[in-house]
Amino acid sequence: MCATCGCGNDAEHVGIEGQELTAQHEHAFWTEGSSRPTNQEGGGHDHKTLEIDVLSVNNQNAQKNRQAFHAHGITAIQVLSSPGSGKTTLLEHTVGRLQKDQITMGVLVGDQRTDQDAERLRQAGCEAKQITTGSVCHLDAHMVAHAAQHLSSWPDILFIENVGNLICPALFDLGEDARVVLLSVTEGEDKPVKYADMFVTADLVLVTKVDLLPYLDVSWERFYQVIQEVNPGAKILPISVKTGEGMGEWIAWLLWQKERARLTHPLSTH
């Protein structure tokens, strides 16, 4: 029996590190289907009024994740973007920087297939667990819970790198403390408007690969202006792992998130 949610068993964890993806594992609904016994009692009403929040299952799981993260002193940061914006590369370059500040990091990384990203991050020097989602285009709080319990130690900062996708992941709370959305300059400055659902939920927007700006017909100011219009509440930073530009501010923001989580959710005594 899974300790996180009571579903399935330990052998059925959702696509973690080469195990088979069994996302719909053992929820009674799937095994019983329509052959569930019929209750012939009760009134003959043709309508049944319900008021069920469909997202509540994910939201409750996300809340459990959040509480568990805080109980273990973990600050959770969700990292989102389209494929190829530089999420994994940024995290690779973040490992060493955080080590200088005595901060440990771990990564749960979602991809449709392969554990290449987790391997890259392990090579960079942090613990990483791959979540392979198969045909699912986003992570949900349940998958995160399964992957998190496979971590060998609790990191100070846990990055949850979502599947590269600017649409679907916006809807699902994973239990993170803050959301970072990456936008690489080669994607174009129109993306925050086109994929507004993603950008309006961001706490920080990192405009990546800014070293390429001289080769493009768009300026940093234009990126800043568009993102700021869509989400005036977000912090916006230019960054390039190649030149190191913005890395200091990124690390400072992470340390501030860590401090904020520490003050808001002081560690319990256990």
Binding site: F29, I52, V57, D197
Partner: protein, 130 residues
């Protein structure tokens, strides 16, 4: 295709609440800021509910406007899209207060077939004899 992830819990609730009765209609109340594409959710529900008592159910959407608060002048206003501008100051990027919800609000069942007293009696006799 995140609609499949929503169709799964909806399907679970529908089967749980219908208790085997044939479902003709599933009514959902969906916020306009939820990012739901009804065609995609219809398709996903078709997959989830196939070969069940709700496989022929139609899906009815009741759309609900969202609500936002301007980050500049703090006006609260009704939103149909996440990029709607504040009616007072014309700024985008309002803080979203409501409108991302997806609620299963009701089921309509097919008329129940009458069970004749004899049949009921026979069933009870069988149970008593076993």
């Amino acid at each position: 295709m995140h609609e499949l992830s929503l169709a799964i819990p909806i399907g679970e609730y529908v089967l749980q609440e219908s208790q085997g009765r044939n479902v003709e209609e599933i009514v959902l109340k969906v916020g306009r800021l939820s990012g739901i594409v009804p065609e995609a959710l219809d398709l996903a529900l078709q997959v989830v509910l196939q070969a069940s008592c709700a496989e022929k159910a139609c899906i009815t959407y009741e759309w609900q406007d969202g609500e936002g608060q301007c980050r500049f002048c703090h006006t609260r206003f009704s939103m149909k899209d996440v990029l709607d501008v504040c009616p007072d100051c014309g700024q985008m990027g309002a803080k979203i207060l409501a409108g991302t919800q997806i609620r299963l609000i009701g089921l309509r069942f097919a008329p129940r077939l009458d069970t004749s007293p004899e049949e009921t009696h026979t069933t009870q006799m069988t149970i008593n004899n076993s």
